[in-house]
């Protein structure tokens, strides 16, 4: 699962200057190739900024998958039935597998995996904000698997039309697996929605908790976002944050209403004249607070990841040096 690439002003400082320093003939050839719809492969020439922005994008995506497994993973031991437990384990395994695929794709651009993990643990690299919120009840995992994965699918399907070969190939495989996540999530939600009053209340509470993070999921509104024409031209960014958010609302708000659930935003409606969804300000201040490390679970997520790296260290070493043996001295 993944939120949209967040680009901050400092990320593209001096950006134009660097692109102008590139060999103009090679740059023209590179851009013409993308224009024709051809993919760029790791051994091809590429502008420095293309490489840098792609590493950031794919690395953020990989971190989001591996951290994204944590809020749901919490519930594996407490799943309500054995079938749900099996399905949730399969989903969480998929998400960790997505992280592996994406780390591999980012590595083809020259950043080693260890460096990416180090940057995640030090807080230098970001991941999707939505995973810094807790899954309080089983119903939260149902909302995550349905709606957060739905958002992720919109985002990943969009990105899979990008220009970088290894990323596109990883995404094709990922999108295929996400379709199971979505079906599983929807089934879990419908089960609770059609259940006892208590189950319905549990689900409504979870939706209330998750609506704002879901509105944040695609990133800040376009009028507050940094301009990224180059990234659009290079097919690194394929849709704006608002375009994807509108697509999500179009596809899922009717489905949520169909279940008789209330979306906790009195101003949410589709304007029949513009054909666009209108909604209350989802508090972008909170979004930036959470990105900067102050969400309810940021510290726990990173601590768990660090714990796993540290406690897994001896296993990785033992496997790598399996030939090493203690030999008794002869004399």
């Amino acid at each position: 699962m993944y939120g949209n690439l967040v680009i901050r002003p400092e990320d593209i400082e001096n950006w134009g200057k660097k692109v102008h320093e590139e060999d103009p003939e090679k740059l023209a050839e590179f851009e013409a190739r993308i224009e024709r719809g051809e993919k760029i492969e790791p051994q091809d020439w590429m502008p420095f900024e293309y490489r840098r922005q792609l590493i950031r994008l794919i690395e953020q995506h990989a971190h989001s998958e591996i951290i994204g497994a944590l809020p749901e993973g919490t519930w594996i031991t407490r799943a309500p039935t054995f079938r749900r437990k099996l399905a949730l384990m399969a989903k969480v395994q998929d998400e960790v597998g997505h992280a592996q695929l994406l780390y591999s794709a980012a590595e083809t651009l020259g950043k080693p995996r260890e460096a990416m993990i180090n940057d995640l643990l030090s807080g230098k690299s970001k991941y999707s904000n939505v995973f810094n919120y807790p899954a309080k009840t089983w119903a939260d995992t149902a909302i995550i698997a349905w709606l957060v994965d739905a958002g992720a699918i919109i985002n990943q399907t969009t990105n899979s039309k990008g220009s970088y070969g290894p990323y596109v190939r990883a995404l094709e495989r990922i999108c295929w697996e996400e379709s199971f996540h979505l079906k599983y999530g929807y089934d879990s939600v419908v089960y609770l929605a059609t259940g006892t009053p208590k189950q319905r209340a549990l689900l409504q509470d979870a939706l209330n908790r998750w609506w704002r993070p879901i509105m944040h999921f695609f990133g800040p509104p376009d009028n507050l976002s940094v301009h990224t024409e180059k990234l659009v031209k290079w097919k690194v960014k394929l849709a704006t944050n608002d375009e994807m958010r509108q697509q999500f609302l179009d596809m899922y708000v009717p489905k949520i209403w169909e279940l008789g659930l209330t979306i906790p935003d009195p101003n949410l409606r589709k304007n029949p004249e513009t054909g666009r969804w209108e909604y209350s300000d989802p508090n972008w201040d909170e979004f930036w607070q959470v990105i900067n490390g102050n969400g309810p679970c940021n510290k726990e997520r990173i601590a768990v990841r660090r714990f796993a790296e540290e406690k897994g260290r001896w296993v990785r070493r033992a496997l790598l040096e399996s030939q090493a043996r203690y030999v008794t001295p002869l004399a």
């Binding site: 592996q100 679970c297 540290e310 496997l319 399996s322």
Partner: protein
Amino acid sequence: MSSLDPRIRRAEPELWTLSTPPLDSLEHWPTYEVFVQRMRGGHAQHVGSLHAPNPEMALVLAKEQYARRSQCVALWVVPTEAILWTSPADEDLFQPAVDKSYREPQGYLNTRERLEKYRDRLQATSHD
């Protein structure tokens, strides 16, 4: 906020006090390229790469990573460093050699153009 996850609460307080030195390079093992044969009689196809400590473990991990659902009759793993490849930039290597322009005067029409481009570039940089 105390964690909602009982497994995490069991890991406390060490969870909060653990300080990890940065990972060393290759700590996540060297890379292998993975090939999947989807059906008998078909070609093995490259599907991606992974990290593994040795070829046997690479096979085990490849099965987990690339053959969880899809049909697969055989898996291959190859250390990445064992692979020699041609660059996609050299794709003209594989064009059929019917073009004989190299032995014709017409094969040298863009010499002038190249020189002019070079001059333009020289001029542009000397203005900076």
